[in-house]
């Protein structure tokens, strides 16, 4: 049968957001390095240094991408990062044989927090902003109150994660790359990934199609918490010992949301991915490095970052509008 209702408007091919954003970020970095004469920053080790700036935020942001894709959000990651860093250093007490137990314990804590967040949001029906803000406050409070008893330092061998490397490539970068690829694979090629997009894109439709939407939301929260845990472990390795404020001082909660959104994942859920998020992280890393080279004041840096977040999201809004019309 012939149908004349099936005309498709051809769309001009567009560069993916991630490529565009990564290109812009690197371009900015290179121009600043050249114009300030800091050409050492363009050497292989300088570029690796730039990438290493991405690790802590990158890990949290990948997890955040999962929850945002499913239509939720996680504000508790900053507190969880601090908790993991403190717990890791306390359990290890500089003893390399305690490395594995510490890691297991930390990831166990993350699993628990993820399950609680997920249960509150998916089964309790509590708005994710409020639910995760609440769990974050609880974690932060417990941590601040008991920090006196939780002193310690990670084992020197554990610090290899932050300072060691393979053929000149830091282990932390290898970790970020591996986990990024794994996350992208899960989202793009697996059943779980397809369900995440379905639930985020249309929760009612997904439920009617027989998807157990609660389980998907819960799992996404667990993923987010585990990635926050990975980030906390990395920070503990870098700083030798955790404090209850490293997560909060790094603004990992809000910045992980910002880079996810800059990367093209929409807050309503159902659209986006890891590649965009990583490009957003690269943008932040390049800005930081560039501002350092320029010697810009820390507070002004914050102002510029804020402005860039708004500009990036505005560009998305315009792009999407143009696409719809």
């Amino acid at each position: 049968m012939t149908t004349d209702i099936t005309r498709i408007t051809p769309r001009a091919p567009r560069l993916p957001v991630s490529v565009l954003l990564a290109g812009l970020s690197l371009g900015f970095y290179i121009i600043i390095a050249l114009s300030t004469g800091e050409t050492a920053q363009l050497s292989p080790s300088g570029i690796l240094g730039l990438f290493q700036r991405m690790v802590a935020l990158g890990l949290v942001a990948i997890g955040q991408t999962f929850v945002i894709l499913v239509g939720s959000i996680d504000l508790s990651v900053a507190a969880l990062i601090s908790a993991v860093a403190v717990l890791a250093s306390h359990v290890m007490q500089g003893d390399p044989t305690m490395m594995l137990p510490a890691i297991v314990l930390c990831l166990g804590l993350c699993l628990m927090v993820g399950l609680i967040n997920g249960a509150l949001v998916a089964y309790g029906g509590i708005n994710p902003l409020i639910a995760t803000l609440g769990t974050g406050l609880v974690i932060q409070g417990v941590l601040a109150a008991s920090f006196g008893m939780l002193q310690g330092a990670v084992a020197r061998e554990f610090q290899v994660l932050a300072y060691g490397g393979l053929l000149g490539v830091p282990y932390s970068l290898v970790l970020l790359a591996a986990l990024s690829l794994a996350a992208a694979f899960v989202l793009d090629r697996t059943l779980f990934g397809a369900r995440i997009y379905a639930v985020g894109g249309n929760p009612d439709g997904a439920r009617l199609a027989g998807i157990r939407t609660e389980q998907v939301i819960l799992s996404a929260h667990v993923v987010a918490s585990l990635f926050a845990g990975a980030s906390g472990l990395y920070l503990a390795a870098r700083l030798q010992s955790g404090t209850p404020w490293i997560g909060r001082d790094g603004i990992y909660d809000l910045e992980s949301i910002a880079v996810t959104v800059i990367g093209g994942t929409i807050l309503a859920g159902g659209k986006g991915g890891v590649a965009g998020t990583l490009a957003g992280v690269l943008l932040f890393a390049s800005l930081d490095a560039g501002f350092n080279m320029l010697g810009i004041d820390a507070f002004l840096k914050q102002v510029l970052r804020g402005a860039i977040v708004i500009a990036a999201v505005a560009v998305h809004a315009v792009r999407t509008k143009g696409h719809v019309a």
């Binding site: 408007t9 397809a194 379905a198 009617l208 199609a209």
Partner: protein, 505 residues
């Protein structure tokens, strides 16, 4: 000859707090049969289908599929038993591809890994079956509503559905796309699929259905073969009374002076727009989905303004660049998407009726005084015969007809001279439709002008004094009251005069 029905529902009862939604309803559908269900909103059609689809459980009664009794506790079980329901609101993921949508929740996967190539191939096959010439990799957001509807059907076919429920499938489609959809229904019937067809559009029902069942107030009135059920009978059974004068009588006096005029109007969606509305006149606007008829309405209310040309109101040129300017000038808008654009669903009936007045009122206007007083607005709502227990109740709890009347009351309070209606009775049941037509006529008779944009051809012919037909962004022609549906269709399709050749791509 006795054929085992593909679907037999017997003695279905369902009660909600305070309402008996279904009272011992029997319904059956044979293999390869199109069985239409007609009834006003609230007659129990949706409840019956939700029970069939596993969303609700019946209080009593039995469902048999090909003779086998089934009990569904989750929509998934119904789907696996071969029942597919295409809902009025589409359930597609706009940012995902057609293939990903067709396989939502039923992805082909091995040990958790998706087999994308296999899904693309199956999707392409299903799309070909429903006659949609779309690449499975296309994003759904780039498809028209009509094609999205076809994707929904392809989704149903994936499960090899033996029973397909279509709930107002043509509500969002124009005449041409509706015909394509009805053809597809015929093809599926030929393949032995049982189709339960719910629609408010009578011509469609009589054209497509083999049998018709009428529900009213949760009871089955009768089931008849289509040949034995003239439209008049169906309508009488649905409303329980005759609807001889379904459409109001034409006005006795000729229309007055020109109220609103557009000259050489154009924007990205249309060109060469020149038309006028006189006082006391109802002007219909017809056209296919992408003809520019919706764009014309949006231009008149300043939502998507004209980029060139002039609009005159009572002979004075009018700046019409924002909805606020339109409201202030006395042009009121009744959008087709009532819930999305017309109402603040969580606010009261009264608040909704006050929306335009409050929008225009100065910042320091005393609230609840003068025209903003509750008594004043309640009077307008009563004049519009809005039925609510209390005008303080959330408007989302009212029926579509009452919601539409409350929006009319909003513009009545604003003393608008021109009302622009888009799809004024979409999703509104027949009795309420008649009341809305009556109101529109009364509004026009008071010396105001009305523009009605609609895809419902009998509605336009019944209500409008004049119909402007749009085709590809231009005005293809104007037909007077009393025209035939054919005349309008020819103009809309661009087939009037010499038959136009299909343009080569």
């Amino acid at each position: 000859m006795t054929v085992e029905p593909a679907l037999a529902m017997t003695g279905i009862r369902k009660a909600f707090p305070g309402v008996r939604a279904l009272d011992a309803v029997d319904f059956e559908c044979l293999p390869g049969e199109v069985h239409a269900i007609c009834g006003e909103n609230g007659a129990g059609k949706s409840t019956l289908m939700k029970i069939l689809g596993g969303s609700y459980r019946p209080d009593a009664g039995e469902i048999r599929l090909a003779g086998r009794a089934v009990h569904f506790t989750h929509p998934r079980q119904a789907a696996e038993a071969g029942i597919a329901i295409i809902h009025q609101e589409l359930s597609l993921l706009p940012h995902r591809t057609v293939a990903e949508n067709i396989f939502m929740g039923r992805e082909i996967a091995k040990r958790g890994m998706l087999d994308k190539a296999a899904m693309r191939d199956r999707a392409a096959g299903l799309l070909a079956r429903v006659g949609a010439d779309v690449d499975p990799q296309t994003l759904v957001s780039s498809l028209s509503i009509a094609v999205q509807q076809l994707v929904e059907i392809a989704k149903a076919l994936l499960l090899d559905a033996r029973i397909l429920v279509m709930d107002e499938p043509t509500a969002a489609l124009d005449e041409r796309d509706s015909r394509t959809l009805l053809n597809l229904v015929r093809i599926l019937r030929g393949e032995g699929v049982s189709i339960v067809y719910i629609s408010h559009r009578m011509p469609e029902v009589t054209a497509i259905a083999d049998r018709i069942t009428v529900l009213k107030d949760g009871r089955r009135i009768w089931t008849r073969r289509t040949g034995e059920a003239p439209v008049g009978e169906i309508v009488r059974a649905m409303v329980g009374r005759d609807l001889k004068d379904f459409y109001p009588a034409p006005p006795s006096s000729a229309p007055g002076p020109v109220l609103l005029a557009v000259e050489e109007g154009a924007n990205a969606y249309m060109r060469d727009i020149a038309f006028e509305v006189r006082t006391g006149e109802i002007v219909g606007v017809a056209g296919l989905e992408d003809s520019g008829k919706a764009a014309l309405a949006q231009a008149l209310v300043g939502d998507a303004p004209l980029t060139s040309g002039t609009v005159f109101l009572r002979g004075q040129p009018l700046a019409l660049r924002t909805p606020r300017q339109a409201t202030a000038a006395g042009i009121g808008y009744l959008p087709g998407d009532r819930k999305g654009e017309g109402l603040a669903l969580r606010q009261s009936v009264r608040d909704n009726a006050l929306l335009a007045l409050r929008a225009i009122a100065g910042l320091f206007t005393r609230p609840e005084h003068g025209r903003l007083a509750p008594d004043a607005i309640d009077e307008k709502l009563r004049a519009m015969d809005v039925r609510a227990a209390d005008f303080g109740q959330e408007i989302g709890t009212l029926s579509g007809g009452n919601q539409q009347k409350a929006i009319i009351a909003r513009w009545l309070a604003q003393e608008s001279d021109v009302l622009v209606f888009v799809e004024p009775t979409r999703g509104i049941d027949i009795a309420a439709k008649a009341a809305i037509y009556e109101t529109m006529r009364r509004f026009a008779d008071l010396g105001r002008g009305i523009v009605v944009v609609s895809s419902d051809m009998p509605e336009l012919i019944g209500i409008a004094d004049r119909i402007v037909v749009m085709h590809r962004g231009r005005m293809a022609g104007t037909v007077p009251r009393g025209a035939q549906e054919e005349d309008v269709m020819h103009l809309a399709l661009g087939t009037s005069g010499a038959p136009e050749k299909e343009e080569s791509p």
